[in-house]
Symmetry: C2
């Protein structure tokens, strides 16, 4: 009998080609070990609640009331919920006819998109149009939709930083386009050298690639750097000259633990640059409720904002969004709550601000513990991740070759088996030839960090002893 | 200056090609009219809560507690929540480390997938493997993912019923495949004639199409029919002989208001047929929390179940699901609650069952009002929609041509302007040449139905008078 349509050999080749290291070999092995009863510390993905971070109380009160609107008529509701949460729940319920059980407009609830536009205006100092903001099931879905709109044929290319978050490489494969890498410079705090960028695009064009877009991840994933204002100006100028759409992944904008390079949105820098470029450059910016001090990953909320995208194209993007009807409504409310937070004087303000500060300060302390712990490696920690370089001795590289593994995969697997720490090898994000890294989040509980770092150090020393 | 990458002329052609009538021209015009202050009755999409259906209390209590887990420690929780809702919330929180704020496994929470497998086993009488069940953000996302896995090149074809739910035509366009239509027979209660099916596939192959899959929508959308067991056997045999994957869209399985043709899942019929076919045919079945008497559209919950799909292919599907990390977690809990409902004797059982019955009976009554109201047209109502045929006089067809509209679009626009009733023209779903329909949901509030039907009748009489 012939093979069947869903047999492996008959699947869409783009589906087979794509790789997603964050939940790849290491994650699968970690899941197996967990099933066998081993204690695993999952630091492969930025998933703070899974590692014990508590949700912020106020947004959860509001969403609980939206899910159970009948409580609003209960005389006892005030015993469990503060008045401002009750008022906010009524506000959000009034924005979507039928509440959380009803599909919203496919772009998201109009009233929430207005709150997001106001948030952007406060942040950047320039007004934002809610009609150009689409709410999404997490930032990932929005990024995937925009890349799908851009990629037409296999020779369409997208500039992606290396190291990068593998959502980009996977999605570009999935939609059958070409990834055009540009390297971030480890020795310069993972900054971006505009000359390297010119070289990357030149080489890609020589190879017949039509470069159509450039991705920046700012603050960086996995590297954690914030691009400087000067760097952003160069990038914007470059995209303008080279006729590229700029895709600005800014999901870590609230994860800043240093004052040297504050976060600036690509949109603000673009508008600061004035005309003609501010009216010309096509920009799509992404944000989420999954990161920052909220960490509401499981809710899957996010948005993208389009700048200088013509109305006919916005309509097409709207049409495609409408095929899956609407992003999930509860997460849209989370997005609204993030965009339109409590103000000084609100009943719950003090608690909300204490909780937020507590989370951010703990993240900052954990970032420092990790920076110190990895000080044998070159390492900078700024956002939610650490991406230390691992100096692998030649004998380790040979041992990895024997078992047909990349050297950093080999190292991370040994680390996992020995300590239960589940990381992602640098090769999943891309790195220069012969240089090896691992990525870990800084999210394990603060009280566990010292023992994690010392078990890492013990493993690393033994590994080096063995292979040196 | 040259055009830019996100200008309309430079977008992915597949994006531009796809059409999605449910939120197409009629919906956009209705939204405009609504903005201008006109009262619009949206019957374009099966969105029951938006038209006043109340959510079931028990699942909403559970999810509210899961969103606000700190309430579980509050001594007053019992004043607002029954003990079984509290117990269920604790159960679901125990299934995902970090609760609703944490990404789950990309296939969905293992414990919920076990509950779904048990539901399927109770329904069909055959065991189901939770490892082959993936939870999704609504059924649509799952359908899109599977179609993407199947479609490799433009000549890959998928058999789709006409009339169909335009998710299928839109998605096949979006992923660059070929839609191969087969016609449902209006004069035979929208049944499926296996000889027509053979003709469709034969013709497609003559045209160079590689037909790889067949979609059935059972109960039908927009037609509402339940396929008979005999029909399902024929379809399964046909897919087996022709080496097609069968995609069974069964999201309306709880929307049955007649006893003539009870719902039977494709999976049950497949297993009843025994070996070899039961071990051979590749089948993917889809379900949702959006339909039935739950109608929780805005939550975006659903699943697909794979039967006879080889492990290596399941792995690939898992990998692609993992790119967007996880389906939204709150809706996974809804899926679990739907799969594992309250039992006789549970505290909340009586209320839950009264509410469910109330909704189903009201839907049934509304289905009958609509059947009677459209009795001038040929019409059968069984699931959530009515799809009456509209006999358009030649002068109306000419008038439509003059304004460059399809005749049924013309009719539906006039209906919208005159009455505020927002329907979808039959051409959005596909219909035979020269035959016209409209699709409306049966979801407007029961008390509004008589006036809606009489305003429809008045409009229709005037329209016919004018153009006859």
């Amino acid at each position: 009998m012939s093979t069947k349509p869903l047999d492996y050999e008959n699947l869409n080749e783009n589906v087979k080609k794509c790789q997603y290291a964050v939940r790849g070999e290491l994650y699968l092995r970690a899941s197996e070990l967990q099933k066998e009863g081993k204690k695993i510390i999952f630091t492969n993905v930025g998933n703070p609640h899974a590692l014990g971070q508590k949700p912020l109380t106020f947004p959860r009160q509001v969403i609980a009331l939206c899910q159970a609107p009948f409580l609003l008529d209960d005389p006892n509701v005030g015993l469990l919920f503060p008045a401002d949460a009750i008022a906010k729940a009524k506000h959000y319920l009034s924005l979507n006819s039928g509440g959380l059980g009803a599909y919203s407009d496919s772009r998201g609830i109009p009233g929430v998109r207005i709150e997001v536009a106001d948030f952007i205006e406060r942040r950047d100092g320039y007004p934002s149009d809610p009609e150009h903001i689409f709410l999404t099931d997490g930032a990932s879905k929005g990024i995937m939709q925009i890349l799908h709109t851009i990629i037409r044929v296999p020779t369409d290319g997208v500039l992606v930083p290396v190291p990068q978050y593998p959502l980009y490489s996977a999605t570009i494969s999935l939609y059958g386009g070409s990834l055009v890498p540009y390297y971030l410079e480890e020795t310069a705090d993972w900054g971006l050298d505009i000359n390297d960028l010119r070289q990357s695009i030149g080489q890609a064009r020589q190879n017949g690639t039509t470069v159509r877009a450039m991705v920046i991840i700012n603050p960086g994933n996995p590297t954690g750097q914030c691009l400087t204002e000067q760097n952003l100006r160069q990038i914007i100028q470059f995209c303008y000259e080279e006729n590229l759409v700029l895709l600005a992944d800014e999901v870590y904008q609230q994860n800043i633990y240093q004052d040297k390079h504050p976060f600036m949105s690509a949109r603000k820098v673009l508008f600061d640059m004035g005309q003609p470029i501010s009216k010309e450059l096509q920009l799509v910016s992404f944000h989420t409720v999954s990161k920052g001090y909220w960490g509401e990953c499981g809710q899957r909320g996010g948005y993208f904002e389009m700048t200088n995208i013509p109305p006919k194209s916005v309509e097409e993007i709207y049409k495609v969004a409408s095929i899956s009807l609407s992003p999930n409504v509860p997460a849209q409310i989370f997005m609204g709550l993030l965009a339109n937070p409590l103000k000084l004087g609100d009943i719950s303000y003090e608690q909300f601000s204490r909780e937020s500060k507590g989370i951010l300060e703990s993240l900052r302390r954990r970032a420092h513990i990790m920076t110190d712990g990895f000080n044998s490696c070159k390492n900078v920690v700024w956002a939610m991740y650490s991406f230390p370089q691992i100096q692998l001795p030649p004998r380790a590289i040979d041992a990895a070759k024997k078992v047909e593994k990349a050297a950093d995969v080999f190292y991370c697997l040994k680390l996992l088996e020995a300590t239960g720490i589940s990381t992602v090898p640098g090769s999943g994000f891309g790195q220069k030839e012969g240089v090896f890294h691992l990525r870990t989040t800084i999210l394990p509980a603060e009280e566990d960090m010292p023992s994690i770092m010392s078990s890492f150090k013990k493993f690393n020393d033994e590994f080096m002893d063995r292979y040196e």
